[in-house]
C-alpha cells in the first residue's frame, strides 16, 4: 500500500509486541474458559468504572475538557512536523540529546547503544507502553543488560513470567492472592509470612526494589506528554517508582511516540484534568514529574529523548483512522468494554488491548497482520463515550473492517445479499423461500461454521407465516 508515492511504513515484523500468535476469536476462547481470569478482570473493571464515574461527575466542565482535548490532539496531528522539530530544538537547548527512531529495531539499537556507552549492566524501567511495544526488554537482555521493571504491576508480570494484559495495570488479570503466590515464588528475600493484604504486598515490592533504585545508574522511561513549546517532558505515575527512575540515576533515556507531543505548556491544563480521572479514577494521580533537559545538580545529568515512529506515520496517513493517535493511554475504553471485560487483554495479542488496541494495533502493523482485531467488538459504543479525547472508536473499527481481506465465502454471501436486497421483487420471493429454521430446526442442527457459533447457545427464531410485506399487501 502506498500513499502519494511514499510507501506506508508499518511497524516491522519480527520485533516488538504488536502481533498475537492467534486470531482474536481463538485466543478469546482460551481466556473465556478461565473463570478466575474473568472474575478478576470483571472485579477490577467494575471497581474502576465506579471510581472514575464519581470523580468525573465532580467536574461540571468534563464535556468541555473532552472537546478541548480532542481538538488539541487534532491540531497536534495536523502540525506534527513543526511541533516535533520544535520539541527537538527545546530539548537540545536544555541539555538533552534527541534521537529519531524510524522503527522498533532502530529504537532498540539506539537505547541499547546508549546503555552500553555507560558501561552499566542493569537499567531501571518505568512502565512504558512504547518500550513494551518495541520489545526493548528483550533487546536489552540480548545485549547482556538486565532491565528491572519497577512499576508494581509490571513487576508482578515480570516475576510471574507473564504478559501484560492492560495498558494501565498490566497485571489486572491477577487478584491479590495470585500476586501473593507470585511474590512468594519469585521475589528474592521475600518474607515467607507474606499475606495477601494489598498494603502488605505493596510494602514487599518497596523492600525488594529499594536497593536496586539506590544503586542503578541508568533508567529508561516513556513519556505521557512532551511539550513542544518548552521541551518539558512529563511522566504521570502513582507509586514513586517513576520519581526514583527520573531522579536517582546518572543517565535517563526516554522513549516517546511521536504522537505524544503537546503544543504548549498551557495545554497540559486540559490533559492533566482528563487523564487521571479517566484512568485511575483519581482527581490527580499521586505523582507527576516534569523536567526540561538536564537540571545541574538535580537528577540525571545525561538525558536522551528517543522519538519513535514505528508505524505511527502510517496511521496518520489514514484520514479516518488517524484519530487513534489521539490516545493518551488512559485505558478508560478497556474498563468499559464488555468484550475486554470477558476476554481480558491477552486475547488481543498486541500490547495495546481493548477497543483502542483493536483500532491502533492493526493500523500500526497494517491490517493484514491483525485482521481479526477490528471485529473484536460488538460496536456497542461504550468506549467512545468513555474516551477523554473523544476518539470515535466504533467508527474507526467499521472503517478498518473495509480494509481487512475478507474470506471468499463471506464475500460471496454478502454480495448475494446485497444483490437481492437491491431488487425488491427478488427480495420478496427470497423472503417467502426463507423458511430457514424449518430446514435446520430452531436449534440449528447441522449448521456449518461460522453459523453454528450462533446456534451453540441460541435458538433460531421461528419464521413467521408471512412477511410484513405480504401482510401489508393483503390488508
Amino acid at each position: 500500500m502506498t500513499f502519494l508515492g511514499m510507501p506506508l511504513a508499518h511497524a516491522p515484523r519480527g520485533v516488538g509486541h504488536l502481533r498475537g500468535d492467534e486470531p482474536f476469536p481463538r485466543a478469546a476462547r482460551t481466556a473465556l474458559a478461565n473463570p478466575q481470569l474473568r472474575r478478576n478482570v470483571q472485579h477490577a473493571t467494575t471497581t474502576i468504572r465506579g471510581k472514575s464515574g464519581r470523580v468525573i461527575a465532580e467536574l461540571p466542565d468534563w464535556q468541555d475538557l473532552r472537546a478541548a482535548g480532542s481538538a488539541l490532539k487534532a491540531y497536534t496531528m495536523a502540525n506534527l512536523p513543526r511541533l516535533l522539530e520544535q520539541l527537538e530544538a527545546k530539548v537540545t537547548e536544555a541539555g538533552g540529546v534527541v534521537h529519531w527512531a524510524a522503527d522498533a529495531a532502530e529504537a532498540n539499537r539506539i537505547v541499547t547503544g546508549l546503555v552500553r556507552a555507560t558501561g552499566e549492566q542493569r537499567v531501571l524501567k518505568i512502565k512504558s507502553m512504547a518500550t513494551q511495544e518495541i520489545g526493548l526488554n528483550e533487546a536489552l537482555a540480548d545485549a547482556g543488560i538486565t532491565p528491572v521493571e519497577t512499576d508494581l504491576a509490571e513487576l508482578i508480570v515480570q516475576l510471574g513470567d507473564d504478559k501484560p494484559s492492560h495498558i494501565l495495570v498490566p497485571a489486572i488479570h491477577r487478584n491479590r492472592s495470585e500476586i501473593r503466590e507470585i511474590f512468594l515464588r519469585a521475589m528474592p528475600g521475600v518474607d515467607p509470612a507474606l499475606t495477601d493484604d494489598p498494603p502488605v504486598l505493596a510494602a514487599a515490592a518497596r523492600r525488594y526494589l529499594r536497593e536496586t533504585f539506590l544503586t542503578t545508574k541508568v533508567a529508561v522511561s516513556g513519556a505521557n506528554f512532551g511539550i513542544a513549546e518548552t521541551g518539558t517532558l512529563t511522566v504521570v505515575e502513582s507509586e514513586g517508582n517513576g520519581r526514583m527512575c527520573l531522579t536517582l540515576p546518572d543517565t535517563l533515556i526516554t522513549v516517546m511516540g511521536i504522537e505524544k507531543v503537546v503544543p504548549t505548556w498551557q495545554d497540559l491544563e486540559v490533559f492533566l484534568q482528563l487523564l487521571p480521572r479517566a484512568s485511575t479514577g483519581e482527581r490527580m494521580n499521586p505523582y507527576t514529574s516534569m523536567w526540561q533537559g538536564v537540571t545541574p545538580g538535580d537528577g540525571p545529568q545525561s538525558f536522551h529523548l528517543v522519538l519513535l515512529d514505528n508505524g505511527r506515520s502510517a496511521v496518520l496517513a489514514d484520514e479516518v483512522g488517524r484519530s487513534a493517535l489521539h490516545c493518551i493511554r488512559c485505558s478508560a475504553c478497556l474498563n468499559v468494554c464488555p468484550v475486554y471485560e470477558r476476554t481480558g487483554g491477552h486475547a488481543y495479542g498486541s500490547v495495546y488491548p481493548g477497543p483502542i488496541g483493536a483500532v491502533l494495533s492493526p493500523q500500526l502493523t497494517g491490517v493484514e497482520d491483525n485482521a481479526s482485531l477490528p471485529y473484536a467488538s460488538s460496536l456497542c459504543g461504550a468506549c467512545f463515550d468513555a474516551c477523554p479525547v473523544k476518539i470515535d472508536i466504533p467508527s474507526i473499527l467499521v472503517h478498518l473492517r473495509n480494509q481487512v481481506p475478507h474470506p471468499a465465502a463471506e464475500k460471496a454471501v454478502m454480495a448475494a445479499a446485497a444483490y437481492t436486497m437491491d431488487r425488491p421483487r427478488l427480495y420478496a420471493r427470497a423472503q417467502r423461500a426463507a423458511k430457514f429454521t424449518k430446514l435446520v430446526g430452531k436449534r440449528g442442527r447441522g449448521l456449518p461454521p461460522p453459523l453454528n457459533g450462533w446456534s451453540a447457545a441460541r435458538d433460531l427464531p421461528t419464521p413467521p407465516p408471512e412477511s410484513f410485506r405480504d401482510w401489508w399487501r393483503s390488508r
Binding site: 502519494l4 511514499m6 478478576n40 471497581t47 474502576i48 466542565d61 475538557l65 472537546a67 478541548a68 488539541l72 487534532a74 491540531y75 512536523p81 534521537h99 529519531w100 527512531a101 508494581l152 495495570v169 491479590r176 498494603p199 504486598l201 505493596a202 515490592a205 518497596r206 526494589l209 533504585f213 539506590l214 518539558t232 502513582s238 507509586e239 514513586g240 517508582n241 520519581r243 526514583m244 527520573l246 531522579t247 536517582l248 511521536i258 498551557q266 497540559l268 491544563e269 492533566l272 483519581e282 482527581r283 490527580m284 499521586p286 505523582y287 507527576t288 514529574s289 516534569m290 526540561q292 537540571t295 538535580d298 537528577g299 522519538l307 506515520s313 502510517a314 496518520l316 484520514e319 488517524r322
Partner: protein, 212 residues
C-alpha cells in the same frame, strides 16, 4: 537519509490531504473563585495526607518528627524548624539556613536515605485535586530530598493555594523540575483499588501556615 528526515518525510506525506486544523475550544472553566482551603483539606485527607493548620510551624514540625532526624533544603526558613532540631541541610557549599547553622555541602544519598523526614515549602497547591507542586526553589530543594525519606512535611502558605489545575499551570515555570504530589505514594495495581505506601514517602503531612 537520516532517520529524522525519513520520519518527518513520512509524516508530511501522511498529512498531504491537508487535514482541517480545528480551533481549540477553551470553553472549560478557566476563571475560578478564590481557592477554598476546606476543599483542599478535604481532598488531601481523602488521599490519606495528614493536614495541620496553625501559625507555629516549628511546634507542629516538632510534634510530627519527635526525636527523628530531618533533612531540609537550603532555603527553608529556620523558623519552621524546632530550635533543638539537628536538621541536616542539603545545600551547595556556603549556602545554608544562615551563618549560625554552619557550613553545608550537598548531602550524599546515604544521608538522605537515613533521614526520618524532610521539611519543604511548596510552589503551589491545587484545592480541587488535593495536589501540592514542588519546583526546586531553595525552600523545596533537589528532587531526591523529598523522595527518599519516608516522611514528607510540606508547609503551605494560604496564598499559594489555587482552586484549579489551569491556575496552577499558569503559576508554574515549565523550565524548572516539577513534582506534583497528591497524597502519599500509592498504587492502584492490585485489583484497581488505591492502596497507600509503595516507593515514595509513605507519610505526607501538609501544614497550612496561617498567620497568628
Amino acid at each position: 537519509m537520516s532517520s529524522k528526515d525519513l520520519i518527518l518525510g513520512r509524516v508530511r506525506a501522511a498529512l498531504a490531504d491537508d487535514p482541517a486544523v480545528p480551533e481549540v475550544p477553551r470553553s472549560y472553566r478557566r476563571e475560578f473563585p478564590p481557592a477554598d482551603l476546606d476543599v483542599l483539606i478535604d481532598r488531601l485527607v481523602d488521599y490519606k495526607a495528614v493536614v495541620h493548620r496553625g501559625s507555629d510551624v516549628a511546634a507542629i514540625v516538632g510534634d510530627i518528627i519527635g526525636a527523628g532526624t530531618l533533612v531540609v533544603p537550603p532555603g527553608l526558613p529556620k523558623s519552621w524548624l524546632p530550635p533543638e532540631s539537628p536538621a541536616r541541610v542539603d545545600a551547595a557549599p556556603g549556602i545554608g539556613l544562615g551563618p549560625e547553622t554552619g557550613p553545608h555541602s550537598w548531602l550524599d544519598q546515604a544521608a538522605i536515605v537515613a533521614a526520618d523526614g524532610v521539611v519543604t515549602g511548596a510552589a503551589v497547591a491545587i484545592a480541587e485535586t488535593g495536589t501540592i507542586v514542588l519546583d526546586g526553589s531553595p525552600d523545596q530543594g533537589r528532587r531526591i530530598l523529598t523522595l527518599l525519606p519516608d516522611l514528607h512535611i510540606c508547609v503551605l502558605r494560604p496564598d499559594q493555594v489555587v482552586a484549579s489545575v489551569p491556575e496552577a499551570i499558569a503559576r508554574l515555570d515549565p523550565a524548572r523540575p516539577l513534582t506534583w504530589i497528591s497524597g502519599p505514594s500509592a498504587t492502584s495495581d492490585i485489583e484497581l483499588n488505591r492502596v497507600e505506601g509503595v516507593h515514595g514517602p509513605r507519610n505526607l503531612h501538609v501544614i497550612i501556615w496561617e498567620a497568628a
